[in-house]
């Protein structure tokens, strides 16, 4: 069911240029499960009540990798998919998700992914998600990921999301609830251009003592695109949270950041830093003294910033 062209998209979003041999995967194409493989420690089953899958990682599984990319190549295909991840106690796993839309038609293609993570005691999860769109059709490419993360004590979750090209409209919501000594690290990188619109709402509740969260968001807005961020950290115990939002504004783009930090415990330590501004002129000048022209210098600075 997968065609040659599909691997172009799969490579962009999940670094898959062929099907992995020894690890589990589920590839969803135009609303259907195109390829699936399960292993001894990673089980994948189709939900019976709604579209989507359950991914279960056995307790104490070591260094597992699971690929669960989604691609849409049919113009006008719209879907809402529910994926639940059950990560057993002490398991160590890397999950590579991601969604690619190739739209060469004129109808709007849309993928709304609703993900829930149940991360067991002391488990360690690395979750990487890339969003990418291409195709020369006039049809829009929309993605609205909603993610809920429930972290048991001592667990670690590193979440990396990247959206660099081609998605016309996105509204992302992320909610995390942390028990004692859980640690959450979210890195978000976003670039919008043309008339794209992106909105990101993130709420982190730190409920257990020793819980910590670090949220790093870097974004670039070009042309007349716009971005809005609503980071929100709530400390209900002796915990630490650090939110850092950095944005580069270009052309006539607009960026708004509306942070909220709440401490409901005397030992909650919550920091928020945000900066929005044009590319630093001295950085541009420095690269120009290397003989690089202004446009190229801009590209180099942005590329590094979003790395």
């Amino acid at each position: 069911m997968l065609e040659r062209y599909d691997f172009n998209l799969l490579d962009k979003i999940a670094d898959l240029s062929y099907l992995p041999e020894n690890t589990a995967y589920n590839i969803r194409k135009n609303g259907l499960s195109a390829e699936r493989k399960v292993t001894e420690t990673v089980d994948i089953t189709t939900k019976t009540d709604k579209p989507g899958i359950d991914i279960t990682i056995k307790p104490f599984a070591k260094d597992e990798t699971v690929h669960i990319p989604v691609i849409i190549t049919e113009s006008g295909h719209a879907e809402t998919v529910y994926n639940d991840f059950y990560i057993g106690e002490g398991a160590v796993v890397t999950i590579i998700a991601g969604c690619g839309i190739h739209n060469s038609g004129c109808d709007e293609s849309r993928h709304d992914g609703v993900h829930r993570f149940f991360i067991g005691k002391n488990a360690q999860v690395k979750y990487v998600e890339k969003h990418y769109g291409d195709g020369d059709g006039t049809g829009g490419k929309m993605m609205n990921p909603a993610t809920k993360i429930y972290m048991e004590s001592g667990s670690l979750c590193e979440m990396e999301s990247v959206q660099i090209r081609g998605i016309d409209s996105t509204k992302r919501t992320t909610d995390a609830v942390l028990a004692d000594n859980a640690r959450l690290v979210v890195t978000e990188r976003l670039m919008t251009h043309g008339e794209q619109v992106a909105e990101s709402e993130m709420t982190v509740e730190l409920n257990g003592s020793g819980a910590s969260a670090q949220i790093i968001s870097r974004s670039v807005a070009k042309d007349t695109s716009s971005q809005v961020f609503f980071p929100n950290a709530v400390g209900n115990a002796a915990c630490r949270a650090h939110i850092q939002c950095d944005s580069i504004l270009m052309d006539n783009a607009k960026i708004r950041s509306v942070p909220a930090i709440t401490a409901n415990h005397p030992d909650a330590q919550i920091v928020h830093e945000a900066a929005i501004g044009r590319i630093n002129n001295d950085q541009l000048l420095k690269l120009m003294t290397f003989g690089i022209d202004e446009q190229e210098a801009e590209n180099i600075i942005i590329e590094g910033f979003l790395k």
């Binding site: 870097r218 950095d246 630093n280 001295d282 950085q283 000048l285 420095k286 690269l287 120009m288 003294t289 290397f290 003989g291 690089i292 022209d293 202004e294 210098a297 180099i300 600075i301 590329e303 590094g304 910033f305 979003l306 790395k307």
Partner: protein, 247 residues
């Protein structure tokens, strides 16, 4: 190699709208293969002069010639391509840019590890530790400053201008740096080096010392001629100011 002809630079004061002269009718020739040190009081116009030569500022009057070509209207990158390089007094930091990448960009193509290391060693940085670090706020002031100097060395321009390379640099690295400049001076026959500095040990390297004060070239000459007059020069200046206030 480089000729400034009656170069002036002024900005309009935002508060009262009056013209504020910063560089006042400077004419200056720099020759091939020579080592120059520019010194003078803070605010005298040294960095502005360097920025005018690099093209970061455009003169409000006068002409700049490089190898007999009028470069007054050329952009920073065009001048860089012609062979002018400038290490900033206050170098910027870059998020997500590794030291190795910055050196490679300066050099013009990918630099192999050992060559990167050679440039870093010249500024007293133990190279292996730094190659893959980002040139961001995680580096100390002195580290960023030394990386800045290394990028200009990696560029190997025909005319290299270093703006206070000693600023913020520890004693041990400074010794290393002076040594590197001395080697550069002795080996580089074609290129010229200009160092803006307040340090006697750097002035000792100069073929010629140029004193810039109040936007003008106050004196220039061999270090033996100029150096002994330096302190007296500024004493007099302070004395004059004192007198003005009395009057």
């Amino acid at each position: 190699m480089l000729e400034l002809k009656n170069v002036s630079f002024s900005v309009s004061d935002e508060v009262n709208g009056r013209e504020l002269g910063i560089i006042d009718n400077i004419s200056l020739t720099l020759e091939e293969g020579k080592f120059y040190v520019i010194t003078g009081p803070n605010g005298g116009g040294k960095s502005t002069l360097a920025r005018l030569i690099m093209g970061i500022e455009k003169p409000t009057a006068g002409q700049i010639l490089f190898n007999d070509e009028d470069i007054t209207n050329l952009s920073v990158s065009e001048r860089a391509k012609k062979g002018i390089g400038y290490a900033f007094q206050q170098p910027p930091r870059f998020k997500g840019m590794t030291v190795r990448r910055l050196l490679s960009l300066a050099h013009g193509h990918d630099l192999p590890e050992d060559e990167c290391c050679a440039y870093l060693t010249k500024v007293g940085l133990c190279s292996m530790d730094y190659l893959n670090r980002e040139v961001d706020t995680s580096l100390s002031g002195g580290e960023v400053k030394r990386i800045e100097i290394a990028t200009l060395m990696a560029r190997e321009p025909q005319l290299a201008i270093y703006d206070e390379p000693e600023a913020g640099i520890d004693l041990w690295s400074f010794t290393m740096l002076v040594e590197s400049f001395r080697m550069e001076r002795n080996s580089n026959q074609k290129g010229s080096t200009v160092i803006i500095s307040h340090q006697e040990r750097i002035m000792q390297l100069a073929d010629e010392l140029i004193v810039v004060a109040d936007g003008k070239v106050r004196t220039r000459g061999s270090k033996d001629e100029v150096f002994p007059t330096l302190l007296g020069e500024f004493d007099r200046k302070c004395g004059l100011r004192g007198n003005e206030e009395v009057q």
